[in-house]
């Protein structure tokens, strides 16, 4: 049994992947000597040297563009974009280049590339350091989007992302880095596209991912007091997402709530709700309810941000709506 935090779990994944395959390089701003703004790459420079742990200038577009060119030429780059908000600067490389290269060149070669980036609020970091933009990337054919919810799946999902022959947007949550988990085996691998059951229950299904899985667990505990047992599906991967796992759970509970920290409008929840309304309609006894952030930029002041982010109470209300 090992107690390990989310950041260390990611660090182990990077370190083990680099030890296993010399083509794996990490690159980004302040990831080498400084160890990464959130410490995820700490120690890698000493272990693997400056040729494989590459400190770059503050040039998001060129970093991801170069990682794409490097992936086309034999490396397996893992890029860090310091805040997900900064991925806007690298959108051409991600969307027009990396995502399309395999398809657009007729399947000549894979483009194995991981873009690690933290999303999410809770740190009062304001409108440009807090956004959850994963739905943008999930909308782009050719990209995979992965979002671990804890130290328990962070390692295995990152190893899977690095092993994947496609560009993977690997979304971490800033609020999780220091969060610890007790694990039997902290280094087991995962499969991209498979969800996990974070909690079993029979009254309603909450589908979530990332840090919001913890919020859903909090909500589940509040609901127990009212005699309601919810099931929680942790997607782990957003693109592709595990339809079978969601449908299986809805077959059992006949009610579906999708909860995430990203704004509700046009989000991951909308995609899941629309799909289940289509392929799972016969199993539903109530309308599907989405829980997401208000349609506003992430505000700075603590009181505003609290109002912005979905909390356990919001999820409890949503569950109760499906049971009315």
């Amino acid at each position: 049994m090992e107690v390990i935090n989310y950041g260390r779990s990611l660090n182990n994944a990077l370190s083990d992947a680099m030890a296993d395959d010399s083509r794996v390089v990490v690159m980004g701003e302040d990831i080498g000597a400084a160890g990464g703004p959130f410490g995820v790459t700490r120690g890698l420079l000493d272990k693997f040297g400056a040729d494989r742990v590459i400190d770059t200038p503050i040039s998001e577009a060129a970093i991801v563009g170069a990682a794409t060119g490097a992936a086309m030429s034999g490396l397996k780059p893992v890029v860090e974009i310091m805040f997900m908000d900064f991925s806007t600067l690298a959108m051409d490389a991600i969307v027009n280049q990396a995502a399309k290269a395999h398809f657009m060149f007729g399947g000549q070669r894979p483009v194995p590339l991981v873009v690690r980036t933290p999303h999410g609020g809770g740190l009062n970091a304001g409108p440009q350091h807090s956004q959850c933009l994963e739905a943008w990337f999930a909308h782009i054919p050719g990209l995979k989007v992965v979002c671990p919810s804890s130290a328990a799946n962070a390692y295995g999902l990152l190893r899977a992302a690095i092993d994947d022959p496609n560009p993977v947007i690997f979304v971490e949550h800033k609020g999780l880095y220091a969060k610890k988990a007790e694990l039997d085996d902290s280094r087991s691998s995962q499969i991209i596209g498979k969800a996990a059951l974070a909690r079993e229950g029979s009254d309603a299904t909450i589908v979530s991912y990332g840090a919001t899985v913890n919020t859903a667990i909090e909500a589940a505990e509040l609901l127990v007091e009212k005699g309601i047992e919810v099931e929680i599906v942790d997607l782990q991967s957003i693109q592709p997402w595990d339809r079978d796992a969601v449908v299986d759970s809805v077959k059992k509970t006949n009610r579906l709530i999708v909860a995430h920290e990203a704004v509700e409008a046009f989000g991951v929840g909308a995609e899941i709700a629309a799909t289940i309304a289509d392929i799972g309609f016969d199993y539903l006894d109530a309308p599907i309810v989405r829980v997401g952030a208000a349609f506003m930029p992430v505000p700075f002041a603590a009181s505003l941000e609290l109002g912005y982010s979905p909390n356990a109470g919001d999820i409890v209300s949503a569950v109760r709506r499906t049971l009315e």
Partner: protein
Amino acid sequence: MVPTESSNGSGNLFALYRDMVRIRLAEERLAALFADGAVPGFIHLSIGQEAVAVGVVSALNPDDTVASNHRGHGHALAKGLDLSAFYLELLGKDEGLCRGRGGSMHVADLSKGMLGANGIVGAGMSIAVGSALAHKSLANGQVAVVFFGDGALGEGLLHESINLAKILGLPVLFVCENNGWSEFSATSEQISFNLESLAAGYGLSYSCVAGNDVRKVANAAGKQVAEIRAHSAPSVLECKTLRVRGHFEGDAQKYRTMDGAEVDDHDPLLVAARALRAEGVSDEDLAEARRLVDIEIGQAVEDAKKGSPPSFADALIDVYAQQAGA
């Protein structure tokens, strides 16, 4: 006597000349096919700029890598891409280089180090820098080259890429094909600096050549590529050239007047032909070279017309690469 490819001097120039003729005739044929409606989409021709592609690629090894741009046919053919597969792609056929999914703006053959034409101005800059990063990391002795136009000088990515290459000491040659035009506008009205001062500002060595003289381009590129290979330091080569056609085929070019005498003076094929004649190559030899290339192209186009429509099911599968062994 037709000079041989292996000899130096006029023999080498003759081979360069033939490669330029191949690009010219291939694009002229393409223009005709486009006018007939046989080529879907947009095409951007490099007629008048062949010496840059041929001269620079002549300085490379087959495994060196090239990132190109929307005007990329010349780079692709100079890099040795199969002519039939090239036409098959531009006609949107399953047997095309990219199985009909990319077209003119995305011709690529990674097995030949051609990392793709590119529909986004300036995007090849960072792809070449990344390719050079891989070359350095894998210590394979290879060099990466990017061809970009003067229109790309306004793209932020160009600046980021040059800085990144310098800071990381990467083996990459930045080749500017300066034809004076940024799509439909004069570059002089859009860009406040010149490339020489930009290169100096970033600490890169720089040279400038008459880009329509293939021998000059080949010599300059040869020197720079040797330096890059030896010292893993990026450099800039500016080639002054002439875009004879519009930004794209069908562009009426109402924004510009063209001087026919100037075009002839600077036509890279005529420049090379004059030099070859001065070295004793006969008009018959030049005509024979052209005739043979024309036959090759005619055959490639006929092959391409017989291509099959691309498979939608296969295209859908290839949105993602499959895990090896999966």
